[in-house]
């Protein structure tokens, strides 16, 4: 398997840069000529009104969509067409706007599944479930249990995620993403549909992930409060066009952004 490893990037350098990327479905332009970059170790927010092309942007970054124009540079490696699993091997993990867990499996198995790409014992040991295979299972179970403790979901380990409340599902999904030990973590509206308390928990997790594991995070979020508190830098999209990019404070004062949100000029 060819995992786009590339040179190690140190904190502060550009981890991922999006150059002049355009994507359209049929006639509809989802993203047009957008460029921005994400620095190693930062929390980067992507905001914008509904239909601004935020989710499409994430889908492009982890290779689910292929832009017609422009390209993505990740860890110094530039590519235009990347398959999702290549992105995963490269170190890009992701959570989804509407939870995309494996509903039939337990929370534990979901998170274990997140480590699939890190497990390599061969088929025949798998058949016997002994030797390397079992050893590997146990070793990764340790890592997974750390994550479970970190997210405080011990008691729901063995519950099929289909039966869990929404908030917990979001948490398990975060757990699955963390299990991949990503360099870049894409969070698509991690707090959508949560009450204040849950939002605070989730925010804490995001921050902890960021400094505890040093994971670079790009998140889409509607709750401005959250965005302003969490993120180091913010990029604003509207109708697929980048209208602003900067620190939370800069964005606060940016007229274009305000117009976009208030719906002026169109």
């Amino acid at each position: 398997m060819r995992a786009p490893g590339g040179p190690e990037v140190s904190v502060g350098d550009v981890l991922l840069s999006v150059d002049d990327v355009s994507l359209s479905f049929g006639g509809v332009k989802a993203v047009s000529n957008v460029s921005f970059d994400i620095h190693k170790g930062e929390i980067r927010a992507i905001i914008g009104p509904n239909g601004a092309g935020k989710t499409s942007m994430l889908n492009i970054i982890n290779g689910f969509y292929h832009p017609q124009h422009g390209h993505i540079t990740f860890k110094g490696k530039t590519r235009t067409r990347m398959q999702p699993h290549e992105a995963a091997y490269g170190g890009i993990a992701r959570t989804f706007q509407n939870v995309a867990l494996f509903r039939g499996m337990t929370a534990l198995d979901n998170i274990m599944a997140g480590r699939s790409l890190k497990m390599h014992s061969n088929f025949f040991w798998q058949l016997l479930r002994h030797g390397p295979a079992m050893h590997e299972e146990v070793e990764h179970r340790h890592r997974v249990e750390e994550i479970i403790d970190f997210l405080k979901i011990q008691e729901i380990r063995r519950v099929p995620v289909g039966r869990l409340p929404y908030g917990l599902q979001k948490r398990v999904e975060l757990g699955r993403a963390l299990a991949m030990e990503p360099d870049l973590l894409l969070l698509d509206e991690p707090m959508a549909g949560m009450n204040l308390e849950e939002k605070e928990d989730m925010s804490r997790f995001v921050l902890d992930v960021n400094d505890h594991y040093g994971t670079t995070i790009a998140l889409i979020e509607h709750d401005m409060g959250v965005v302003m508190d969490l993120s180091d830098r913010v990029v604003v999209l509207d109708h697929g066009i980048k209208i602003a990019d900067g620190t939370p404070n800069e964005i606060k004062g940016n007229q274009a952004v305000i117009d976009a949100y208030l719906g002026v000029a169109h």
């Binding site: 889908n59 689910f64 989804f96 995309a100």
Partner: protein, 318 residues
């Protein structure tokens, strides 16, 4: 070299040398295709409206035909028997909705699919219990369907079109036309299309699913009856007929599970394709290839167009 000749030259030489056979083959393919389409139509109607992959369509064909002949053998005049059979098919549709679909509503597709297997078994047992397993002669002439054939000379040979086949083609087209009108013009038809698009939406605008399902299963039953009469007239009415229904499946892939025109055109393509293939290329492979040719055609096709000829495009989003 010789093989290449056999594959790419010889068949066409044959076609040219005996055009009457070519025409006859095309005709046979067309007729078979029309009947495949009829069965496929039954599938499509039900799949469209209830998302159920109705495996029982095949046995419904047999059941309908048996009922018709059964009534007649018990001294009921042909047309009355036809009417009664239609009534029975309605009863069946009603029962299916009440006893099978309603309790299983919102179950995964595969469960409903499995349920139709149950229905198949039940109908096999019931049919044999009531009518006996022995084959019966279809009462085609009593129903006023024409007998004999029209023949016309052609290029030294002759082409003979069975009147019953012509009738089959006509009846099939009429049914399709009627269904098309039903879907486009009537209120129920529109409701049906709505259901096909989204059950929830349909419910929210106050369309009763139960009602719709009875209608489509009844429609499928009528289609099955027509198929049964036509195919029964071509050979005999026996449980072996059920096998024919499998022929409709490649038609479905080709035409798409939800498209009525797809079913028709797919049926004709498959019918003609397999007859031509069997007749001109079959001998090379040791014949009998029509048992799978249809599937292979459909499969190859599917690789390029996963949603079938007319099926709605499947857009995956996340």
């Amino acid at each position: 070299m010789h093989l290449i000749y056999q594959i790419f030259v010889d068949p066409f030489v044959q076609m040219g040398s005996a055009p009457d056979l070519l025409v006859q083959t095309l005709w046979e393919g067309l007729v078979a295709g029309v009947l495949y389409s009829l069965i496929a139509l039954g599938f499509v109607l039900i799949f469209k409206a209830s998302g159920v992959f109705n495996f029982a369509q095949g046995i419904m064909v047999v059941f309908a035909a048996l009922t018709l002949v059964g009534f007649y053998e018990h001294g009921v005049p042909a047309y009355l028997a036809l009417a009664l059979t239609i009534a029975v098919m309605f009863g069946l549709a009603f029962a299916v909705e009440r006893l099978m679909l309603r309790p299983l509503v919102n179950q995964p597709d595969i469960i409903l699919f499995m349920a139709t297997f149950g229905l198949t078994y039940f109908l096999i047992g019931f049919g044999e219990l009531v009518f006996g397993g022995d084959p019966k002669v279809m009462i085609a002439s009593q129903l006023g369907l024409p007998k004999g054939a029209v023949e016309f000379k052609m290029a030294g040979g002759f082409v003979s079109l069975q009147k019953i086949d012509i009738a089959a083609a006509i009846i099939a087209s009429v049914m399709v036309a009627a269904l098309a009108v039903f879907f486009q013009k009537t209120r129920v038809g529109r409701a049906l299309r709505a259901v096909a698009d989204s059950h929830k939406a349909a419910l929210s605008v106050g369309i009763s699913l139960e009602y719709i399902w009875v209608i489509v299963w009844f429609a499928a039953g009528l289609v099955a009856l027509a198929t049964g009469i036509m195919w029964g007239a071509r050979s005999e009415v026996s449980f072996a007929l059920e096998i024919i229904a499998l022929k409709a499946l490649p038609v479905l892939i080709l035409g798409g599970f939800t498209s009525i025109p797809g079913a028709i055109i797919g049926g004709v393509i498959i019918g003609v394709g397999e007859k031509i293939g069997e007749f001109y290329w079959g001998p090379l492979l040791g014949s009998g290839i029509e048992t799978w040719l249809a599937y292979v055609i459909a499969l190859v096709f599917l690789l390029f167009r996963p949603q079938g000829l007319f099926g709605e495009r499947i857009i995956e989003r996340i």
